[in-house]
Symmetry: C2
Subunit: 190 residues, 2 copies
DNA sequence: ACGCCTTTGCAACTCGAAGTTGCGAAGCGA
DNA sequence: TCGCTTCGCAACTTCGAGTTGCAAAGGCGT
């Protein structure tokens, strides 16, 4: 089918040139398809991008990816990093962040974070809590988002590689914290 | 002068509609200026945006803003949040992240993170270390970037408010860590 | 094989926004 | 007043997005 090839190319293009410079005719050409065929299914660039992102979310969150983690913080961060740096992830993040129109973007974001994509990492962290690796009162969602945010900053702002060494530092910071606790009287967690 | 008004409007527009939908003629109209006057100074949209971002960086990093912090983690996070959620910050982040062309974007990012914008928070954190509020071996840059990344995720992905309550949770996570070991033996996270 | 329906390719078209140009009118310092 | 620069204005060119009509496949049941 033409559909899959076009959507796949769309994702790659999103990650490559961003939403701004994404051209429907060019996507068609790279997919080896006439632009008319693309326009008939997806009237505008926005529709095409939306479809591409939605399919990729369904495709990548069903099986493993974000979910195939050993369920400690390190492997969770690793999985998240792998997802964000994938063509799909690059396209999604770039697109969602670039679009100031909150209506579309917010709906898309909501779609993204429903289902396995949200529940699996969450469950993994809660499992880590019950295994005693994390504090019982850990703010799971915040921790998850902070990892994602740090990776995003690394990729999009610093434009540096997300390698194991860096991930290790990130995990260390998030698990141990930066505050100087040892040897102080300190208002312990409630 | 016309210049200042145009660049200011450009920043606001960047934060409002993003780079994708930013229109030079519309910027001109909102600034109460003829589009020809804009085009004469800045040949293309890219030039205009670049100029607007550069000026705003110079304007916002000289005096207080990111630097006017009481120098502990909480006020640093607060300052960073204020900057990122400002029209300027929104415009910068959106633009830099949306542009897949690494040449332009990377140069811009490099420009942004040079000078006071980079040094002041860094100095603040190191000061906090010497005051004994943070661990001596704290990864200052990583901590700084993680705070920024978390805020970005909050603003652009979750699209939720960055208020004091949330900032407090973030600071708590980053200073105490999520790992279950109150300062006992050393770094052995994985 | 036949007809039927849908999908695709192709080329020519419309349309609107981006960016250009020439000229005339202000502004402003000497 | 002169001379230089900057701005407004309107008409223009250009280019890419999206459209349309038609013909050529392709799939599918009979």
């Amino acid at each position: 089918m033409v559909v899959n090839r076009v959507l796949e190319v769309t994702l790659v293009e999103l990650g490559r040139v961003g939403l701004e410079r994404l051209s429907v005719p060019e996507v068609a050409e790279r997919a080896g398809v006439n632009k008319t065929s693309v326009y008939r299914r997806w009237p505008t660039k926005q529709h095409l991008v939306k479809a591409a992102l939605q399919q990729s979310m369904e495709a990548t969150t069903r099986p493993p990816e974000t979910g195939a983690l050993g369920s400690d913080l390190a492997s969770l961060a690793s999985s998240l990093a792998e997802f964000i740096t994938s063509p799909t992830g690059l396209g999604i993040v770039r697109t969602v962040m670039a679009d100031g129109d909150s209506a579309e973007a917010k709906a898309l974001t909501a779609t993204m974070w429903r289902g396995p994509a949200r529940d699996l990492p969450r469950a993994a962290l809660e499992q880590a809590i019950s295994r005693g690796e994390l504090k019982p009162d850990t703010d799971v969602e915040l921790l998850l988002f902070t990892v994602a945010g740090a990776i995003m900053h690394r990729v999009f702002i610093e434009r540096a590689r997300v390698d194991d060494a860096w991930l290790k530092r990130l995990v260390k910071l998030l698990s141990e914290g930066a505050g100087k606790k040892p040897g102080r009287h300190h208002a312990r967690s409630m």
